[in-house]
């Protein structure tokens, strides 16, 4: 069975956009929902399970968006910081979880 890939949406506010621009990563943003900027980082199966266990208020929206939602803002800020440091959307979740 192939490995799952579960997006976490990091919605890009002005503060996050400035950080991306300064790191030369502004083109990582996608436009979703009528032009709203987002960076999608991905968790694999094990990372998804681990993150939902660590943050029980978060949930995997299996019905509509198929993404992990409702992570606390400070958690998303930390994952966002990993994106900036690692310049990657694929390894940021793993790097964040390695700190826990």
């Amino acid at each position: 069975m192939s490995e799952g890939k579960y997006p976490i949406n990091l919605w890009v506010n002005d503060d996050r956009y400035d950080k991306l621009k300064n790191a030369g990563l502004a083109d990582m943003c996608k436009e979703m929902l009528a032009g709203l900027k987002v960076i999608q980082v991905y968790a694999n199966d094990a990372e998804k399970d681990q993150i939902l266990k660590l943050y029980p208020m978060a949930k995997f929206d299996s019905a509509t968006t198929k993404s992990i939602e409702l992570l606390p803002r400070e958690v998303k800020d930390k994952i966002f910081d990993k994106v900036i440091v690692q310049k990657s959307i694929d390894t940021a979740v793993g790097a964040f979880l390695a700190d826990h």
Partner: protein
């Protein structure tokens, strides 16, 4: 003329006058009740639960469990309304069949309760029938298993009206009053929008679509169809929107002109959700029949939780029992954003499927939580601003339920002191 509610039964408010209440309540054994029971007392007393006159006895419970009907064999009823007590409490208060006791909430007299019977019932059997599972991780089953071991059936009469606290007062509109409002507005048909959410434009379009469906063949020279938002206000979980934000933003859609006085009204019902999916959908139909509505909107996974129910189980059950319900369903497909159309559209209308951008209440909460203001096509700016204002005014800085909110929030209603 009598107002007829669910099952064709007359809606009667079971509320004593102040002078009668003082006489009848005097000297009765006082039994405190928790929030869930207090809400259900209000619903029985004001007719939201017509034809129930009190908490269910064994025959009614058995009929609900076995046939989704009351003991009369005719009236559909899908969720048991039960008053539970432990053996120790029954002994402590000396509760016996034939006796009348006084139920109190937070120390103040609320209702008389004429005990008809005390009985036991298999809780797992209730769960399997109502929730389709007996797993205790289902929140409805968990609530059922938390009931104490005995049930007490009997009629209630309210002796002390609840005080609905700000900002909720204008939204508590009991069945008889609601029906008067509909007449004043000249609405011939009214469609219910069930909610526990702050509205995004997907919800707004669910309402607009249901309004169009309900309008049907009626003449259009003047507005004669309305949408009633009936917010369920009950137990909160951490991470939910705070109740104040829910009720105020629903009404904001009218105030900001996305709807108007001529076609939109916001109200609330006190009820702790059971997440019974299809059975709760039928329960909502009964409740809204009593409020005087002609139509009820159902989207996908109505009142469901986790993966217990298929997306359209509620629709299927409704169609099975429709002949025994007075209210008509309007079923709705999903609304979504299509960048090609440049608008919120319906999956049954738009053919740009590969481009669709679906959104949910969860996704919008996630955006708000990230401190981002969603585009107006997805979330109305007036609604966003009011969510943030509610966070400051009522939510201790957060639009979402926190431990602090649960501990310090102003209760939605309270029972005033009363000397007996």
């Amino acid at each position: 003329m009598a107002e007829l509610g669910h099952g064709g039964k007359k809606i009667v408010e079971r509320i004593m006058s102040a002078s009668e209440a003082k006489k009848k309540a005097k000297g009765l054994t006082q039994i405190p009740v928790r929030g869930q029971i207090a809400k259900e007392i209000i619903n029985i007393a004001y007719g939201f639960f017509t034809p129930l006159q009190g908490f269910m006895g064994k025959k009614d419970l058995d009929a609900v469990v076995k046939r989704m009907k009351l003991a009369d064999g005719k009236t559909i009823w899908s969720i048991p309304i039960l008053f539970d007590m432990s053996e120790a409490e029954i002994e402590k208060y000396g509760v016996k069949a034939g006796q009348t006791v006084l139920l109190t909430f937070e120390g103040n007299p609320m209702a008389t309760f004429k005990v008809d019977e005390i009985y036991a019932y298999d809780k797992a059997k209730i769960c399997k029938s109502v929730y389709g599972t007996d797993e205790d991780k289902h929140p409805g089953c968990a609530r059922t298993y938390q009931y104490k071991d005995k049930f007490v059936g009997g009629k209630i009469m309210l002796v002390n009206k609840p005080k609905i606290n700000p900002p909720y007062e204008p939204y508590f509109i009991p069945p008889l009053e609601m029906r008067k409002k509909f007449k004043q507005k000249g609405w011939q048909r009214v469609v219910a929008h069930q909610t526990r959410n702050v509205p995004h434009t997907g919800h707004e379009w669910l309402m607009k679509g249901a309004w169009l469906q309900a309008y049907g063949e009626l003449p259009i020279e003047k507005p004669i169809v309305g949408v009633l938002v009936n917010a369920i206000i009950g137990d909160k979980r951490k991470g939910d929107y705070i109740d104040e934000a829910i009720i105020l933003t629903q009404d904001e859609l009218r105030k900001s002109g996305y709807f108007g006085d001529h076609n939109h009204l916001t109200s609330l019902t006190f009820w702790d959700m059971r997440y019974a999916g299809p059975k709760e959908a039928i329960f909502h139909a009964m409740l809204r029949t009593n409020l005087g509505l002609s139509h009820h909107m159902y989207g996908r996974d109505h009142a469901g939780v986790g993966t217990y129910y298929d997306a359209y189980d509620a629709h299927h059950l409704f169609l099975k029992v429709q002949k025994d319900l007075k209210i008509k369903p309007t079923f709705s497909m999903n609304w979504l954003y299509c960048p090609h159309c440049g608008e919120v559209t319906n999956e049954g209308l738009c053919s740009h499927k590969p481009e669709w951008q679906k959104f949910s209440g969860t996704l919008i909460r996630s955006i708000v939580q990230d401190g981002v203001k969603p585009p107006r096509l997805i979330f109305r700016p007036e609604v966003f601003d009011l969510v943030m204002e509610s966070a400051e005014k009522y939510g201790f800085g957060s639009p979402f339920v926190t431990d602090e909110y649960l501990e310090k929030r102003t209760p939605v209603f309270s029972i005033p002191p009363m000397k007996v």
